[in-house]
Symmetry: C2
Subunit: 393 residues, 2 copies
């Protein structure tokens, strides 16, 4: 029902498209931008000048192309002058990074997080690390805001952490608290860790160019970041993607959410540790030790991996029928479960998924590694800049 | 990454926005269009003239507003001159309708479909009904194409019916067959019945104005039409929404898809008929008789409704966790199951869904009734017209 955009909106869209292109692809010649964006040379020149005046890009010496004719100057993002802060609240650790336009990690801090650390204790650790990092930032830089990834249920509108069972947080106004710390006018966007990783892999990782992607992230719990038709699926309040609480086994174990037999009770940390006879252990290292033991022939660990792999394939089959994705990415501990239990995953997936829904699905591991969550959290902040470069900068 | 639109694209978008507005809202004054679309009076005048020249709208006498000043002329869709054909392939019947711009059913035919009727036998029935209807169409009208709703898995690209277990159709090129029948240049779009109903309810029914909607449709099988972020979720090949094949009960009954314990085996026709001691019956009337018997105190029918209602709430709970919708609509026989088993649906839904995902969810029945599927099928055809009115007309 929406009418076409005004001239001002078109200019904003063009500025955003150019800046996004160099943010993702790095230094690019004006000639390449002309063909990639479908705009003429003079428009590219004017947009570049506006972005350069705002301190967001600079023009560099032309690349040697070996072709005849005047070489085209190169437009590059101001990667060390324009940055965002990225926070990651994980079950076992807290991470803070400063990430430049273009996606490079410029600085980082990591703090071990004792389990059960409440938000009131965690926030000072985060702000302390942030303070240290800010003192080291050179003068004349532009901070475009901050993004935070949390393993929990996050309200999109204001970054309220509604429920994070595995950190024990309930209704924590994390977005507001960190915005206050960053100072006047700072914008902080909070997202679920799976959504944030999906965003990063879609922007510049394994799912670049894919329009329908399920990114599954596991640690203690399990969540999904979903890209449908090229856009992030958030749901009405921002709570979409809670696939870990899809009940798969009505007779299953109680879940921390209050229900029973949720998918995460079958494929999350507890299932692997309990199933392999390590009920007293916890943490990512302990889970990785299960895969290691299985690979060395430990029969209980192998049985736990087989069973969890079967449940992983089961849930993925259900989601493939619902979403008909072109790619499923296994992140966090699900990466290791997928690799160790691939036979069970594929066998159960094939039996549950409809052939039509499954036929073009590629199963993948993340390509951005451990930094995906930080890069994705920064992308939340850059996304605002890219939507309206001259206003947000 | 997309740059802003060209002048030509903006004009197309504006023409589409104006035409869509009167298609949905009916006759509208120029003054109302100016404020609803955010365009100035002269632009609205020029767009209206272009659409009128193409025979898509006409201008009528002003409505009496009771206000001072020159009344504004009314723009109305050419509802009896511009039309689409709508086909609905159901388990028990075939329907064909001619639907005018604006959504009114201008003509209709219905044929009972014996179960097991193969596509080669059904298509002549459809084309025969179409032929009859075309003979009655007045001269000088514009047909914008046809839309077909099928209870089955449909490939978006070409309207191939990949699998329709309950009609027994496999890999039927239904889109191509009916396009050939309609003649040179006719465009036929094929969609799953749940997608088509969701589209209709979102455009002009219970879900108008809602951006995140699950429309669940049941007859023999169960499917979903999903609106996420205001757009139809189709998946990579167009097969998204096969929620009836989400496995909910690993120990459940075999499903026609080859899997076991699919949601539709617990809430579809067979579950209700078998559970109420009517295993030999089939068809929509037989299912409705179960609800009727339950309301009159038949204990077996009541037990079947309670059990299916519980499974309905269970699956909706899973989907609410995955999608965080603002509305769930129960269509087809699920409408009656929801109404008869509301206590079980709500109780199980509350136990499965996370409170944050559930908090703004409204449960609804369709507002367009039995015609939703025809109206939605026509919307598939009108959607192409609205995307580019002067090219498609």
């Amino acid at each position: 029902m929406r009418a076409g955009p005004s001239q001002e909106e078109i200019r904003r869209q063009n500025l955003g498209a150019l800046l996004r292109y160099v943010h993702i692809h790095g230094a690019t010649s004006r000639a390449e931008l002309t063909s990639a964006l479908g705009l003429n040379r003079s428009t590219i020149g004017a947009l570049t000048a506006d972005l350069a005046n705002a301190g967001l890009v600079s023009e560099g010496a032309p690349k040697e192309t070996g072709r005849a004719g005047r070489p085209s100057p190169v437009v590059q993002p101001e990667w060390d002058r324009v940055h965002a802060y990225a926070f990651s609240i994980e079950v076992d650790r807290l991470r803070v990074a400063r990430i430049g336009l273009g996606g490079a990690v410029l600085d980082r801090r990591e703090v071990t997080r004792p389990r059960g650390l409440v938000a009131a204790e965690a926030v000072p650790l985060l702000t302390g690390a942030l303070k240290e990092m800010r003192e080291a930032v050179p003068a004349g830089t532009i901070c475009v805001g901050a993004g935070i990834a949390v393993c929990g249920v996050v309200r999109r509108a204001d970054g309220m952490v509604r429920l994070s069972p595995h950190t024990g947080w309930v209704d924590e106004p994390l977005g507001a608290t960190l915005a206050a710390e960053l100072g006047a006018g700072a914008t902080v966007t909070v997202g679920n860790v799976a959504d944030v990783c999906a965003f990063a892999e879609h922007a510049r990782g394994a799912a670049a160019g894919c329009d329908n992607v399920l990114y599954l992230y596991g640690d203690v719990g399990v969540g999904a970041g979903i890209i449908a038709g090229g856009r992030r699926l958030t749901g009405h309040g921002g709570y979409g993607g809670e696939v870990g609480h899809m009940v798969v086994n009505r007779d299953g174990a109680p879940c921390e959410c209050g229900s029973r037999g949720c998918w995460e009770t079958e494929i999350g940390e507890y299932a692997l540790l309990r199933g392999s006879g390590r009920a007293a252990a916890h943490g990512r290292e302990a889970v990785l030790a299960v895969f290691d033991a299985a690979s060395r022939g430990d029969a209980r660990a192998q049985a736990a991996v087989r069973q969890a792999g079967d449940w992983l394939g089961f849930g993925v089959g259900n989601l493939v029928n619902i979403f008909n994705p072109e790619m499923v990415i296994f992140g966090g501990t699900l990466r290791d479960l997928y690799l160790a239990g691939a036979a069970q995953v594929r066998s159960r997936l094939n039996s549950v998924a409809l052939p039509a829904c499954l036929e073009h699905v590629r199963l993948r591991t993340p390509s951005l590694g451990d930094d995906a969550v930080l890069i994705g959290a920064a992308e939340l902040a850059f996304d605002r800049l890219l939507a309206d470069p001259l206003d947000a900068a």
